[in-house]
């Protein structure tokens, strides 16, 4: 049997359902007359797993697993990595440093824009955002080590 896209999608959903069900054992189901905190999650997990099975049963009509185009995955991973680093540094370094670093690394390293353009863009955009959100809208942006 050839592995199809919906075989994998259904199996992942089935597994996720089983894991959440296992994590739900401490939730009281209650009775129908007095439903507990576990009633809706249990019903929803069962429905979710049923649809996952349905998806797997009809998977024959879905494209082959290898037909999924992952050409953009490298770019997505790079953007995600830089964004995750910026989020990790958001509180310790503060808004200005973490966001300007994020913008600079994405434009200069990921998008390979000229150094000066990347520097001007990251500095200018961060300053503008700080003025709009931090000053004009008075939003408390994290200040990190500069606090």
């Amino acid at each position: 049997m050839q592995m199809r896209r919906d075989h994998v999608a259904g199996a992942v959903m089935l597994l996720a359902g089983a894991l959440v069900l296992a994590a739900s054992t401490d939730l009281p189901f209650g009775t129908l007359a007095s439903p507990g905190a576990g009633l809706l999650p249990t019903v929803v997990i069962v429905v979710m797993m049923a649809f996952a099975v349905l998806l797997m049963l009809g998977a024959g009509a879905s494209p082959r697993l290898g037909a999924i185009d992952w050409a953009d995955a490298g770019h997505a991973l790079r953007v995600l990595g830089v964004t995750a680093a910026a989020v990790a540094l958001y509180i310790p370094l503060g808004f200005v440093a973490s966001i300007s670093l994020l913008l600079f690394v994405v434009t200069f390293v990921v998008e390979r824009k000229p150094l000066l353009s990347a520097l001007a863009f990251s500095g200018g955009a961060t300053l503008l955002a700080y003025l709009v959100f931090g000053t004009l809208l008075n939003a408390p942006l994290p200040r990190g080590v500069w606090h």
């Binding site: 910026a86 966001i99 942006l141």
Partner: protein, 512 residues
């Protein structure tokens, strides 16, 4: 009728306040930009800007956010006509004949017809909303927990039935959303559910990090910068006026699209997208020259553009009158009202008339603003399109981080957004529509409360859902929808939804 006019006068007294006018204008402007820029839909735009409204009162907040929604329907036509790139999913059909008109040197006329059609349809939609919403809200006062449970189930099933990705996939996504909505303290018993000792999860997962992650970051991850082009030539101001024949050819399609769009908009689902496809099909079917469609038919621009605007207004009927979000955008707008302490639903008209009527009146004004914005300023919006995507998407990521963090000043929320971004990317790869997930998340608390209240009311008897006439009628429609879906699955019929999926995936020629 007199009472409606009195209430509308109250609404206009609110809508004409300078501060409300300013936020309506801001919403329309941002909405047009959101519609113009490929890669950011109205949902991402509204989600990202939701935290900005926290300092505003409920009226200004909803006026601005709704302006983004219907403004994006206007803006979406610009890229469709000038670049053959739908700035917004509902503008896919406009690409076909709008771009063909542009190639014939009639880009200005196509833009004007799209803007005038959108204005007429938007205004007509608001008139219908003014007339229809209050009586529905009055009727919904008879609803108790069983009726609401049945209504929410019907809403989900309708969404699944109308979806282009198929019933099992849509309901699977809705179930994931409902499950995410269960995270946090159970309001009826005080039990912590799936919070894994993370105190920030005690209040549950917010709609903003989920929506911004799935639709904002997820979209960016799926769009490599090299695939976005910036070549575009804006029409000159003198070329904007359509000729007499073009006006004549567009009049009836605009009228038909307005009515059709509003009716489709009331039904749960991606109404504005479906409405534009349906309008295109109708116009082609009744046209005396169907062979012109695809080669620059005026009706192919006028009909779909009117329909998607009218549908976005129609979608406000169930949201305002019943408190029922029919799609992810209305779900986020509903969340915005809830955050501001204004629960949408049948009581809204009586308890918060200033918000309800002020919002409706602001849409009349907003549609006028959009007409004024979209025609003379088309050159400005086209200039925005020239910003290279490599500089644009890092800015969107920045707005995503600021927007999500500012909701609760919680870095956990930003991490949730990041995770949801990855989830959104993977869901697109496996052909899942993330919209039902957001809808499930929003309705989870209402659904759980009404389900459990119904069971307590009936002492655990499930028959309460079929013994009450309104709930019974709603559940009968649910069964019919399930039957229809099963039938089409058994017959393996390639119906309009399959064609919609194909066209949404990028093949805009698959339209008849």
């Amino acid at each position: 009728m007199e009472a409606t006019l009195d209430s509308l006068a109250l609404g206009f007294s609110v809508a004409f306040r300078p501060d409300v006018l300013f936020y309506a204008f801001l919403g329309c402007l941002v909405g047009t930009l959101v519609g113009v820029l490929p890669g950011i839909g109205p949902l991402a735009g509204i989600s990202i800007l939701l935290p900005v409204t926290f300092g505003l009162d409920a009226t200004k907040a909803i006026v601005m956010l709704a302006g983004i929604y219907y403004g994006s329907q206007y803006g979406g036509s610009t890229t469709s006509i000038l670049m053959r790139i739908p700035g917004e999913a509902s503008s896919v059909m406009t690409c076909v004949d709008g771009y063909a008109m542009a190639k014939r040197g009639r880009a200005g006329a196509a833009l004007t017809i799209a803007a005038v059609g959108s204005f007429f349809a938007g205004t007509m939609g608001v008139v219908l909303l003014t007339v229809v919403a209050p009586p529905i809200a009055k009727f919904a006062l008879a609803f108790g927990p069983p009726e609401y449970t049945a209504l929410l189930v019907l809403g989900l099933l309708f969404l699944a039935y109308m979806s282009s990705t198929g019933l099992p996939r849509t309901l699977l996504m809705a179930a994931v959303g409902l499950l995410l909505g269960c995270i946090g303290i159970d309001v009826m018993t005080g039990h912590f559910r799936y919070s894994f000792d993370i105190k920030e999860l005690g209040d549950g997962i917010g709609i903003v990090p989920v929506a911004v992650g799935l639709f904002g970051l997820g979209e960016i991850l799926s769009t490599p910068s090299k695939t976005v082009t910036e070549k575009v030539v804006p029409p000159r101001l003198a070329e904007l006026l359509p000729n007499r024949t073009e006006w004549r050819q567009s009049a009836m399609p605009i009228a038909r699209g307005s009515v059709l769009g509003f009716l489709v908009g009331i039904v749960p689902g991606s109404a504005h997208i479906i409405a534009s496809f349906l309008s295109y099909a109708v116009e082609k079917r009744i046209s005396k020259t169907p062979e012109e469609f695809g080669k620059g038919a005026v009706a192919g621009v006028a009909g779909p553009e009117s329909a998607n605007n009218s549908a976005s207004t129609g979608a406000f009927v169930p949201m305002l009158a019943l408190g029922l979000p029919t799609g992810p955008v209305t779900a986020v707008l509903m969340a915005a009202l809830l955050i501001h302490g204004v629960p949408p639903g049948p009581m809204l008209v009586n308890e918060h008339p200033q918000v309800f009527w002020g919002f409706i009146a602001s849409m009349y004004v907003g549609n006028l603003m959009l007409l004024a914005l979209n025609l003379p300023l088309v050159g400005v919006f086209v200039t925005v399109l020239r910003i290279p995507y490599a500089y644009l998407y890092p800015l969107i990521i920045m707005f995503c981080i600021i927007g999500v963090y500012e909701v609760n000043h919680s870095i956990v929320d930003v991490w949730i957004m990041l995770i949801m971004g990855v989830v959104g990317y993977l869901l697109r790869k496996f052909d899942f529509d993330p919209a039902p997930l957001v809808l499930g998340l929003v309705i989870a608390p209402i659904f759980e409360l009404s389900l459990r209240q119904s069971l307590i009311m009936s002492n655990g008897n499930w028959l309460i859902f079929v013994e009450r006439p309104i709930a019974q009628a709603l559940l009968v429609i649910c069964v019919l929808l399930l039957g229809l879906s099963a039938l089409s699955l058994l017959l393996k019929r390639r119906d309009w939804r399959a064609k919609l999926a194909q066209a949404e995936a990028g093949d805009v020629t698959a339209r008849d």
